[in-house]
Subunit: 255 residues, 2 copies
Amino acid sequence: MPDAHGPSAGHVVTVIGLAGIPELDETDDLALLIHEAAIRVGGLQPADVVVVAQKAVSKVEGRVVRLADVEPSARAWELAGADGDPAHVEVILGESREVVRSRPPLVISETRHGFVCASAGVDASNTEEGTLVLLPLDPDASARRLRERLVELSGVEVGVIVSDSFGRAWRQGTTDVALGVAGITPLRDLRGELDAGGRELRATQIAVADELAGATELVMGKARQVPAAIVRGVDVRGEGSAHELVMPRERDLFR
Amino acid sequence: MPDAHGPSAGHVVTVIGLAGIPELDETDDLALLIHEAAIRVGGLQPADVVVVAQKAVSKVEGRVVRLADVEPSARAWELAGADGDPAHVEVILGESREVVRSRPPLVISETRHGFVCASAGVDASNTEEGTLVLLPLDPDASARRLRERLVELSGVEVGVIVSDSFGRAWRQGTTDVALGVAGITPLRDLRGELDAGGRELRATQIAVADELAGATELVMGKARQVPAAIVRGVDVRGEGSAHELVMPRERDLFR
């Protein structure tokens, strides 16, 4: 990573929230709204990474279902338990390849994309009463489409991440992670690089895209209508897919 | 979180690497080195969070063992398998309350502090040949000591996080998380807050301290001798412990 300030000045990364983007639906051009919000904070720059909240992406892609249209299965009734909504659980099951763990009404599952997360990413907050928002069908493709349009509008080769808040095994609280990426390398591979003592580094891959997503949560929040942010100062340009961030099943010790 | 720029300008967070800190050992005053490095980038400001890499903290605390001094047990030989170093695994077992999963030579365990991570945080990179660096005995206490000294030196009420790179279940690559905190609230609790539609938010706790730690990894890296960084623009002042970030055993579905 180049450091224009020299070794004693310290490398600087800036995270800029993109505010003033209204409530979204399928009629909106999200990339245009992001572009306009970016102009209000001085515009995009080369190697910027634009992180966009999954919910914003899902809404403009029409990934919304009405609970009233859902017929819960017996399994959904069972997994919902006394406190859950079977229709909500049915939607989660529809988005899941496999239930990994459950404790009614909590369901942790593998999504159609291969992500393991709570509720298959299905969410009821910040959405119209009686509706649920689903994850995009192909978040890498969503990121690519946003990136193409942003590059077209701004003339700047930015990277794009579609982010969501995931819980973690063993740790409390969510952190934002990358569900889809375009124009960036999501993992930094240190294999072969040397440590300060000249020995090869072993803890070898860093999930930079997840750290970028987490950093933008700090300016996005859930309740503040800031559905996107820019990260400036981390050059992760490249070609990659968020699937690189998914642990291959054969190496996964926790399923 | 107050936003001095108004809703259309976007909230800004800055992450500043603290470079020029030499290789460390027990003779070093880490807080003084951080204070001096901070002065070179303009000094600390109120509500800044200083994130310090665990390895730097462990080295000045003397949490280093020589492999030559270690007598591997039968269990260490077994868990090391054909490819591992039984002495290294013995050190990991000494730092562990319980082995959660193993696949020789990989050991995932619960540390004495309650963290679940690979190798109980024991690390061989960026350390003297033939030695291993262990996690601090009490990372919250390490953070408190650093904070007290930094406040004394700078006159500024900063927060402190001691960070480390942890792998995750189901996802590839490490992200930096908080092992110890002082002067900050590690979780942001949204329970009771309302979404943009006026309904109560459900995904209720955000692991802000982990997102802060992850953001600083973007400027620290492993091979670049930048063992600390400042995050500016996220007001998390409060009293808390990194133990709040550990999932209570009775709620943990993955042990």
